[in-house]
């Protein structure tokens, strides 16, 4: 069995800030909006959130530091868009644990259903 410190481990430590960035409802909400409506300005993203523009900017910067979004200037506006590769990594974490449960449930199913026969 080989589970040494592979290149995968390096990639994973990289993924850690992603989880921190996602641990907030407002930030997840911002990501969801960017995913459905495409690149948006800070002004746009602040509308209807009930949160101040300054707070939204702070959240967006947190997402930016985690590599989840990137920004560019358009005139006086900052435009934000998703960095999809990064999100993929974070999503895979729970997917993997989830697949372990699938395997265990598969064995449980076989265990209880075989014995029924």
């Amino acid at each position: 069995m080989s589970r040494g410190r592979s290149s995968a481990a390096v990639k994973l430590s990289e993924a850690a800030p992603v989880f921190a960035a996602l641990g907030d409802e407002t930030r997840v909400g911002l990501l969801t909006r960017l995913s459905t409506d495409g690149p948006l300005s800070t002004t746009h993203l602040s509308k209807g959130t009930g949160v101040t523009r300054q707070a939204i900017t702070k959240h967006l910067r947190t997402l930016g530091r985690a590599g989840l979004v990137r920004d560019r200037q358009r005139g006086r506006e900052t435009i934000w868009e998703l960095e999809p590769k990064r999100l993929e990594k974070a999503r895979r974490y729970l997917d993997q644990i989830s697949s372990e449960w699938d395997a265990a449930i598969g064995r449980l199913k076989a265990f209880v259903e075989e014995e029924s026969n």
Partner: protein
């Protein structure tokens, strides 16, 4: 890609929920979960003691690749034939690391009788409390150890 954002794991990093229909009587499913010997059969772990509310139970994993790794389980609640819960350290498979000070995740099994079979719901929650480096570790372990297990799913689980 946009659609990945709308999937459940993306918006909820704290828990995993599984539902499955088992074509077996509820009493049988209950024994498979609440009897530590039977639990060990399908979960691939060997326990020395029975599960008991409030008890900390130790076991040894028998899953290929993780043989003899120690597993610690704190049994929370046992409500016969309907609810069973315990806590553990998810992916506490690094023998050189002491997990005892770290928060545990809560695993809940909920059973419901239906059409001559049993609906089983499993929820593991509390991942947001797990240190970030550990989550990365779990991911690494999974990536190396569990990818092959994926193929078993299709063979056993139907309609999920």
């Amino acid at each position: 890609m946009p659609e990945t954002l709308n999937s459940a794991p993306m918006t909820d990093t704290d828990k995993i929920e599984k539902k499955v229909f088992l074509n077996a009587p509820r009493s049988k499913v209950w024994r498979a979960i609440a009897d530590s010997q039977q639990f060990g059969e399908w979960f691939r772990v060997k326990f020395e003691e029975p599960f008991k509310e409030g008890a900390t139970i130790f076991g040894r994993i028998t899953n290929p690749g993780y043989e003899n790794v120690k597993l610690e389980m704190v049994v929370e609640k046992v409500q016969p034939e309907s609810y069973f819960s315990y806590r553990w350290h998810p992916y506490g498979v690094d023998k050189t690391r002491d997990y005892s000070a770290e928060p545990m995740t809560l695993i809940e099994f909920m059973l419901e009788e239906v059409n001559g079979g049993t609906n089983l719901t499993i929820v593991e929650s509390g991942f947001d409390g797990i240190p970030l480096d550990r989550r990365a570790e779990a991911f690494r372990m999974n990536n190396n150890g569990w990818s092959g297990q994926l193929k078993n799913i299709e063979r056993y689980v139907t309609g999920t």
